[in-house]
C-alpha cells in the first residue's frame, strides 16, 4: 500500500469519527426527503434541490476544508518527521477530506432521489445534479485546503474561505447583472458566457437550468445559453468545473511543498 493510501485511510477513520460528516449526511438526507415529499413533482423538487446544492455544498466544503486542514496540522508534522514525501502526504490529506464530503452528498442526496424514481429524463437530471454537486465539492474543498495551507491563522483562513464562498455563491451574480444592465445596449452574449465560466457556482447553475428545460424563463440570453449548452457546451462546462478543482489543488500543493512547519 503506498503512502498516499495509508495517509488517506487513517484520515478517513479520523474524519468518519468526528460527527461533522455524519451530521452533514443526515441533514442532506432529511432535506432531500422533505423536498421530494412536499416540494411537488420530481422535476420541481429537483429545481429546489438545485438551490440547496448551489448554496450549501460550497459553504460546507470551504468551512469543513479549512477546519480539517488546521486540525490535521499536528498529524502532518508527525508524518513529515517520518520518511514520507510531502507530495504523497498532500494528496492523501486532500482525498481524506474530499471523499467523505462527496460521499455524504452522493448518499444523502442520491439515495432519496433514486428511491423516488421517475422516467428516464428524471434520472438523467438526477445524474447531472449529482455530478455537478460532486464537482462543486471537489472544487471548493480544494480552494479551502489551499487557503488553509497558505494561512496558519485559523480566523484569517476561515474568513478568506467564507469570502470566496460569498463571492462565488452570491456576489458574482450581482456583478454579472450589473455588467448586463450597464452595457445593455451591446451584444453581451459571449462576454456573459465567459463570465459564467469563471465562477463554478454560476457554471453549475446555468448548466443544470439548461438541462432542466426551464431556460425559456431566461429570455433571449437563455436561448443563447440553450444553443451553447445543447451541443458540446455541456462537455466544455464539465471540463471547466474540473479545471476549477485542478487549479486550486495544484496551488495548494505548491504551497504545501514549500511550507515551513
Amino acid at each position: 500500500m503506498n503512502l498516499t493510501l495509508r495517509v488517506l485511510s487513517s484520515q478517513l477513520r479520523n474524519v468518519a469519527r468526528s460527527r461533522w460528516v455524519i451530521g452533514y449526511l443526515l441533514l442532506l438526507l432529511a432535506g432531500t426527503t422533505l423536498l421530494l415529499r412536499f416540494g411537488g413533482t420530481g422535476e420541481r423538487a429537483l429545481l429546489s434541490l438545485l438551490n440547496v446544492v448551489l448554496l450549501l455544498l460550497p459553504l460546507v466544503s470551504v468551512m469543513f476544508g479549512v477546519l480539517y486542514v488546521h486540525n490535521a496540522r499536528e498529524f502532518v508534522e508527525l508524518l513529515l518527521a517520518q520518511p514520507v514525501a510531502r507530495g504523497s502526504l498532500y494528496s492523501g490529506l486532500y482525498a481524506g477530506v474530499v471523499l467523505p464530503l462527496a460521499g455524504a452528498f452522493l448518499v444523502g442526496t442520491g439515495v432519496p432521489l433514486l428511491l423516488q424514481g421517475g422516467d428516464r429524463g428524471y434520472l438523467v437530471h438526477c445524474g447531472l445534479l449529482l455530478a455537478a454537486g460532486v464537482l462543486l465539492t471537489t472544487g471548493f474543498t480544494a480552494m479551502a485546503v489551499a487557503v488553509a495551507v497558505r494561512f496558519d491563522d485559523r480566523a484569517r483562513a476561515l474568513g478568506l474561505a467564507l469570502l470566496i464562498w460569498l463571492v462565488c455563491a452570491l456576489l458574482y451574480d450581482g456583478l454579472v447583472l450589473l455588467v448586463a444592465s450597464a452595457l445593455a445596449d451591446y451584444p453581451l452574449e459571449t462576454p456573459l458566457l465567459l463570465m459564467v465560466f469563471l465562477n463554478p457556482v454560476d457554471l453549475a447553475r446555468v448548466l443544470l437550468l439548461m438541462s432542466f428545460d426551464v431556460s425559456a424563463l431566461m429570455g433571449y440570453t437563455g436561448a443563447v445559453y440553450q444553443k451553447f449548452f445543447g451541443a458540446g457546451g455541456m462537455v466544455l462546462a464539465f471540463a471547466a468545473l474540473l479545471v476549477a478543482t485542478a487549479v486550486p489543488y495544484l496551488f495548494g500543493r505548491r504551497w504545501f511543498l514549500r511550507k515551513d512547519f
Partner: protein
Amino acid sequence: MEVSGLRKRFGRREVLRGLDLKFAPGRITAVVGPNAAGKTTLIKSILGLVRRHPGDGVIRLDDLELNGDCAYREGIGYMPQTAPFPEQLTGREVLELVVGLRGHPADLDRELIERFALPAVLDQPVRTWSGGTRQKLNAALAFLFRPTLLILDEPTAGLDPLASAILKEKVLRSPAEGATVVLTSHLMSEVEELAQDLVFLLDGAVAYLGPVEGLLHQTGETRLERAMARALEAAAR
C-alpha cells in the same frame, strides 16, 4: 552530522544567521539558549519541516547532503515538543500508521511502550488521553525504529517524575545502542545530567560549541545554570 552556514528567515525576522556546527557521532548534544534563539528552527531544518532555499546553507548527515528528498528520515527518531496525534484515532491506530509508513520493520524497540504501561490505554482514542500519556507515546515513537539519530525537543516537558526518569535513563543508554542524540531543554539540571556536548544558541548564532565542562571552565562557574546566565550577561554587554 554537520551543519554549515545554515540561515533561515521568517518574513523579515532572521531566525538563524549562519550556523556552523557538528554533532559528534555517538554522543549526546544539548541545544540550549533563551527563548526564540532558534533551537526549534534548527531542529526543524534538520528534519526538513522548515524548508531551506538555495544559499541557506548545507546540512550533511553521514556524508549525505540533505536536499529535500525524504528517505534520510528513515534513520531519524523525532520527538516534537507537543505530541501531534489525530484526536479521533486510538493509540494503536497511530502506532500502526507510523509503523506502516516505515514499511513494517521487524525489529522494533518497544521498551518504552511497555515501561510507560501504554498497552493498557492503546485502544482508547487519543482525545481521551492526558497530556502526559500523549507525551509518553510521543517519546516511545521516537525510539521505536532504533534510529541512528535521535532528536528530542524538550523531551521531559509534561512527563511525571517517574516517566521522566525512565526516559532519561533510555536517552543515556542510546549512544551505546548506536544513536547520536540531539536534544533541547530549558532545564539546565537535565542538560547536566544527560548531555556531553553543548550547543549554545543566542539570537540565531552559535555562542558556544563544545563539551559541557568547557562552558563551566570558560565562565568559572560550577553550575550550568549560572554559567548560562553569565554567558547571557556577557552577550548583553
